[in-house]
Each structure stands twice: as C-alpha cells, then as structure tokens.
C-alpha cells in the first residue's frame, strides 16, 4: 500500500533519514520503534508531507506522494501534543477536516456523532480542549483523524502524554479501533513494550534506516544486530568470534556456543532464558553473583563472568548469597547470533 524506497532527509549536517526502505500493508498496525534521533519522527513528517525528502521515492497505492501537499494527502496524523484547536469545541475540532472536504451538514453531524461514539466521548461535543483530561484529549485527537476515514493513520507517540496507568488500556483500545476501522496505522514510539504489545509488525530504526523489520515475536526472539538486541530490552550481548565452529568470547572468558554461522560477531542471550545449572548438569558458563534484586515476579541476578563481562539473569526463586560462585546454563536455541 505505502512503499518508501531509499528515503533521504538531511537537516544541516544531520542525516535524519539515510536510505530508508519501508513497505506498509493495507490494514496493518505497524510500529516504528527507535531511540530519539533514529529518524522515526522525521519519517512520519515525510509521510504526512510536512517535510520533503531530499531523495528517494514515496508511493501510496502506486501514486507518487512527493508532489502532493499535506492537505491533499489521503493520510491523517495524530500529533504527540494532540494539536487540538484551542479556540474550537470538541465537535468543531472533529468537524474541521469534514468542512474542508466539503461534507454536507447532515452527513457531517452523523459522522461526528459516530466518531465520538467510536472513542466513547458522547456528550462532550460542547467542551473546549482546555476542559478535557489528557485521556479525553487523546480520544478527541483520534476521533478528529478517524472521522476523515483515512486509509493510513500516522500516530506520533500516541501514548507518550498519558499517565502510565492509562497507557496499557488506551493501547488496547487503540488496537481495537484499528481493527474496527480497517485503516493502516503507523505508530511511532520509543517504548518497545508498547510496540511489541500492539503492532502486527515492527521496524526498529537506527541512524535513519531500518535495522530490522518483522512481526514482534520474531524481531524479539531473533534480533539481527547488537542494536536491536539491546533496544528490544534486557538481552545480554556478548562480543566474540567463530573459530573452528565454536563461538569464543573473550569478554565472557569462555566458549559460548557451537555451530553458529561463521560471520557471527556477537551473540544475544535473553535474561529469562538463562538459569542456574543443577549439580548434575554441565554448566554453560560459571561466574560470581555480584548482585541480586527482587522484582516482584522474579529476581534479577547480575553475574560477573571470568572474562569481565556480566550477564543479567532472571531467576524465579530466592538467589544464592552475593559473592558466591554460580553455574549457569541455557538451551542451545537460546543463543541468537548477531551479524552487526
């Protein structure tokens, strides 16, 4: 549906988009995940038409989008600050786009009512944005975009301005709305939990290009690069190299795995996939327990390896005393080879 190839955008010396490729399918919930400065917001602005790309192509259902100004693009955007018009009430905010599109009064009224019902804000038509709570503002912004029936909705950090308690529920509602309307959503976020929980597919951006793209489970389980492994949360990354079919890690001071591809430059190992080895097992690695912290569901252990690197390990029983020697093990499949 939306196809971007080799997008470039420079701001002075900064290369915000560096040859970015992306293809969005109709009706999917897509999350753009990245740290600040990764180019995710710039990409959104380029898609909406607020910034013009320096190079590359941008097509929506075959139509070249580059010469199309923002007001003529069949794409709508929900802003991080919501950008509700402070001088208009809720109904007028939602009516704004419909008026520009020349929708007749009667239909306009019906569509506004339907949009308000969709986001559960019936009865607030006459309120000014200043009289709404953060969550209500977010819904009005959503209704204002969705009432335009866009085929593609861009959401810039839609949950960033909400209280932590409201975020989870709002996220689920957002996905339900996406399913109901059938529009493709592209959500920009720096919160990997949010992206993993809601999206059909995610793209991790790094330095203005896509580092990895795929369904959340796949990207989470098989990160392709050190960056993705670290960014998606809590994976241990150990540097090393393949020699005679064995991955040797000087940092760990041990051989970690066998049979990985020969171009492996590092491995990722999730904290929850490492466990204490029982007495009759051959440990994968041994180390000293440096520290342990109770987290509610489990304990986080930090284990110093002989080579100096430390491993984060999640353990679901009270850990040994800090300073004691521990033996760790994991399934062979838990080791993910990284190639960059």
């Amino acid at each position: 549906m939306l196809i971007a190839t080799a997008l470039e955008k420079r701001f002075g010396a900064v290369r915000a988009l560096a040859g970015l490729d992306l293809a969005i399918k109709p009706g999917e919930f897509f999350a753009l995940l990245g740290a600040s400065g990764s180019g995710k917001s710039t990409l959104l602005r380029v898609l909406a038409g607020f910034d013009a790309p320096d190079a590359g192509t941008l097509r929506l259902d075959g139509q070249d989008l580059r010469p199309v100004p923002p007001w003529a693009r069949p794409i709508n955007m929900m802003f991080q600050s919501y950008a509700l018009f402070p001088h208009m009430n809720v109904a007028d905010n939602i009516a704004y786009g419909l008026k520009r599109a020349g929708v007749p009064v009667e239909e306009r009224r019906n569509r506004i009512a339907a949009a308000l019902e969709l986001v559960g804000l019936q009865g607030l038509e006459a309120r000014k944005p200043q009289q709404l709570s953060g969550g209500q503002k977010q819904r009005v912004a959503l209704a204002r975009s969705l009432v335009m029936r866009p085929r593609l909705l861009l959401l810039d950090e839609p949950m960033a301005a909400l209280d932590a308690g409201l975020r989870e529920r709002t996220g689920l509602e957002l996905r339900a709305l996406q399913r109901k309307t059938g529009a493709a959503f592209i959500m920009v976020t720096h919160d990997q939990q949010e992206a993993l929980a809601l999206a059909d597919r995610i793209a991790v951006l790094e330095g203005g290009r896509v580092a990895q793209i795929g369904p959340p489970q796949e990207v989470y389980a098989r990160p392709a690069t050190r960056f993705v492994a670290r960014f998606l949360g809590a994976a241990n990354v150990l540097e090393g190299r393949m020699r005679n079919g064995v991955f040797e890690s000087a940092e760990a001071g041990a051989d970690i795995a066998m049979g990985l591809p020969t171009d492996t430059v590092a491995i990722a190992l999730r904290a929850e996939q490492i466990r204490l080895a029982s007495a009759d097992e051959a440990p994968s690695v041994t180390g000293i327990l440096e520290d342990a912290a109770f987290r509610g569901d489990d304990w986080l252990m930090v284990v110093r390896l002989p080579g100096g690197a430390s491993l984060r390990v999640l353990h679901n029983a009270p850990p040994p005393a800090p300073g004691s020697a521990v033996s760790l093990t994991w399934e062979a499949g838990a080791v993910v080879p990284l190639f960059a």
């Binding site: 909406a48 038409g49 607020f50 100004p69 923002p70 007001w71 003529a72 794409i75 709508n76 955007m77 802003f79 991080q80 600050s81 950008a83 509700l84 018009f85 402070p86 001088h87 704004y96 786009g97 520009r100 599109a101 204002r144 335009m148």
Partner: protein
C-alpha cells in the same frame, strides 16, 4: 511576607504616580479658576464638568481624539499584522535582529522624528522639491498640516507597539496546530484564517489598545503635523492648561478622557477571558 515585599514597589508606583495624580486631578476639577499660583481656589463645584457637557467644543474634541486614535490604531494593525507575520516567519536566529530593527526608530528622539517629517513634508521640503524637480507639479503640494501628515506621523510613532504583541503571539503559536489544520485538508490561506488569525486575535486587540490609548491623548503630533482644525482632546487640554489657564476645566477634561478609555480596556478584558 516576601510577597508583600515584592509587591511594595508596585504599590508605591501606583500610589505615587497613579492614585495621587488622579486625586489631584479630581480636587482640581472641583476647584474654582482664579488668578494666582496655582490658578485655582479649592472648592466643591461641578461647573467644569457642566461646561464639558454644555459646550460642544469639548465633546467634539473628544470625538476627534477618539476618531484619530481609532484610525491610527486601525492603520497600525493593518500594517503591523503582515509585518509581524513576516518577522515570525524568518529563521529563529533572525528574529532578534528583526526586533532590533523594529525598535531602531526609538534610538532617535520622538521630536526629532516629527521634525524629520516636517522637513520631508513642508512646502520647501524634500518631497515637494523632488516633485517639482521631476516636473510633476509646479506649485508645492500642501502636504504638511494635513490630516494625512498627522496620520503618517501617528502611525510612524506608534507602529512598533502594535507589532510587538502580535509578533509574540505568532512565535508562541504551536506549529503543530498549523500542521494539524493542513493535515485535515486546509490550504495555507484557510489555515491562516481558521487557526492563525483567531488564535492571535487577542494579541491584535492588545496591539490595537496599546496604540489607541496613548494615541487618544496625543497632542504633539496633531499640533506639529496636523491641520489647525484637528482640535483633538490633547491639544485642547494643552490650551486649557497653558494658554487659558483654566486648570479646573482642563482637569475635568482629562478625567473625562480617562473615563472614556476605560471602556476599550474592559472590552479587551472580556476578549481575553473569552479566548
């Protein structure tokens, strides 16, 4: 207590420079004119106020002053809004130099600037010289001491006061609002009239008032550039104080002007509350 200390200069200012002069004006307006220093005797008489109502000369002067002030403020607004829009549109690094340029005229004295206009507009002045030199006219055009000269001088003197609040409001406007409007299908002109303009209207009203209020009491510019028949309240005040030496009448006139100017201030407060 620290709050009280912080507010002390404000209250001192208000007391010494607003309340006390106002009280003196009221006392003066109720006094009887007399020969001597000061030229009145304290009393309790409303003759000065009665005179303001009876003699249409004063009412006319008030109307003329309000008309001049409204015209000046209106013209200033028409010029100031596009100016502010242009200034707010430049790169942020250029904004400060733009502001400095706007304030540049204040680096020379007010009277010098009026003097410069006299030099330009008088019969033997630069403009008439040029027109005759180019053969466009043979007799000098009467430019000075006209309504036009007066308005040019007024607008020139007061324009920055109208630009400043509008400029400030424009640079504070969240760019996301303009982008949201464009995103919802509004072309640039529509974005301006439906978002930018309504959201900066209170600032435009403030700019209007910042010009209107001092312009209503202005007497130097009408005196030096305007036609003799432009008997605005400022000039009449001056005449009553210094030529006729009827201080009670002049004081009553000043109070009447003050009372009239409270109306637009109230109107502005209501506008601010509505936005």
């Amino acid at each position: 207590m620290p709050r009280g200390i912080l507010l002390a200069p404000l209250w001192t200012w208000l007391l010494l420079l607003v309340a006390a002069p106002l009280l003196i004006l009221v006392v003066m307006a109720l006094a009887t004119p007399a020969d001597g220093v000061p030229p009145f005797m304290l009393g309790w008489r409303f003759a000065a106020f009665a005179m303001l109502v009876e003699d249409f000369y004063y009412a006319d002067a008030l109307v003329a002053a309000l008309r001049l002030a409204a015209t000046t403020a209106g013209l200033c607004l028409l010029i100031a809004y596009p100016m502010a829009l242009g200034m707010a549109g430049v790169r942020p690094a250029w904004r400060l130099p733009m502001l400095a340029l706007l304030m540049l005229p204040f680096w020379t004295g007010f009277l010098l600037r009026i003097g410069a206009w006299i030099g330009l507009l008088r019969d033997e002045g630069l403009i008439n010289h040029l027109l005759r030199g180019l053969g466009i006219t043979d007799a000098p055009l009467a430019l000075l001491y006209t309504e036009g000269a007066m308005l040019v001088g007024m607008v020139h003197a007061y324009l920055p006061f109208a630009v400043l609040p509008i400029f400030t409001a424009l640079i504070r406007l969240d760019p996301a609002l303009l982008e949201a409007a464009a995103d919802l299908g509004a072309r640039p002109a529509r974005v301006f009239f439906s978002v930018t303009l309504p959201l900066t209207l209170p600032a435009a009203a403030a700019g209007f008032l910042l010009v209107f209020i001092p312009a209503a009491g202005e007497f130097v510019i009408p005196e030096l550039l305007g036609p003799p028949e432009a008997q605005v309240i400022g000039r009449v005040l001056w005449q009553e104080f210094f030529q006729n030496r009827d201080w009670p009448l002049a004081a009553a006139l000043a109070l009447a002007l003050l009372a009239l100017l409270i109306l637009p201030i109230r109107w502005f407060q209501r506008l601010g509350a509505g936005a």
